[in-house]
């Protein structure tokens, strides 16, 4: 765990760990995008977000990684599984597949790769920086980011009330 070395700078980023996490994340994402069975795709989706949280740990943003695990695997993946179970009578399998989407996605990927490798200034390695503690995040949230924090709280409340109203049974 990197947080055990707080105070000491970050551990060096390990490229073996990077390659393993990248393969896991991209394979799980491809499985989530292409698997026919809805439930398998939802579980691959959860695995994708485990991989992204591992990337956040690797980059030294432990708090964001933990938030990602709590929110996505604890809440969003469970919500998706519940929705699949509630709409099960429809289709167990997703049959239609639009191949023009593959062309668009590959074109966007090619454009992004071209832009990334054309930019010389981003082929840098990570500098040694002091660890970002949760205390620091809390201080920043409560001073400079207090208005965005309140707005996000209001947004979450409105979204929850809106979701409840949307799924409420219609009165006849």
């Amino acid at each position: 765990m990197q947080s055990a070395f707080a105070g000491h700078a970050f551990c060096r980023m390990n490229s073996v760990a990077f390659i393993l996490i990248a393969i896991l994340t991209l394979a799980a994402a491809l499985a989530a995008a292409t698997l026919q069975k809805l439930m398998h795709a939802a579980l691959s989706f959860a695995l994708t977000f485990v991989g992204i949280a591992a990337f956040f740990f690797l980059l030294g943003a432990e708090f964001v990684g933990l938030v990602q695990i709590f929110v996505y695997i604890g809440a969003v993946a469970v919500l998706i599984v519940f929705t699949i179970l509630l709409t099960r009578r429809d289709v167990e399998k997703d049959r239609g597949f639009n191949w023009s989407g593959v062309v668009v996605a590959l074109a966007v990927f090619g454009g992004l790769i071209w832009a990334i490798f054309k930019t010389r200034s981003i082929s840098i390695t990570a500098p040694e920086i002091p660890a970002l503690t949760v205390e620091r995040i809390g201080q920043v949230l409560m001073t400079g980011y207090v208005w965005p924090l309140q707005c996000v709280g209001l947004l979450l409340t409105a979204a929850l009330i809106g979701a409840l109203i949307l799924v409420m049974e219609e009165k006849r």
């Binding site: 490229s15 994708t48 990337f55 929110v71 996505y72 049959r95 639009n98 023009s100």
Partner: protein
Amino acid sequence: MMPTLSIFLVVSAALFCIGLLAALSRRHAIFILIGIEMMLAAANLNFIAFWRFNPQPQQPTGVMVAIFSIAIAAAEAAVGLALVIAVYRHYRTTNVDQLDQLKG
């Protein structure tokens, strides 16, 4: 050898395009939501990577943006899945090709 910033950007670009693929080519509404969530996560990965590779990371701005983005993505997922359930109750299907009532 340590991974460079551009390698992280390549990974997040690949993740974004897989999400785009899921959102564009699947016909089930839940898959479209899954694709949108993946694209948001790829953007978060970019924010964190740019924060980490900044030589003077005094202000944790990238981390803050990622935290707010996760909160907004959670709200979006809740409303989106509620919409899927409401549409399913009304039309008895979640296939987006069959939801063409608004077509002129």
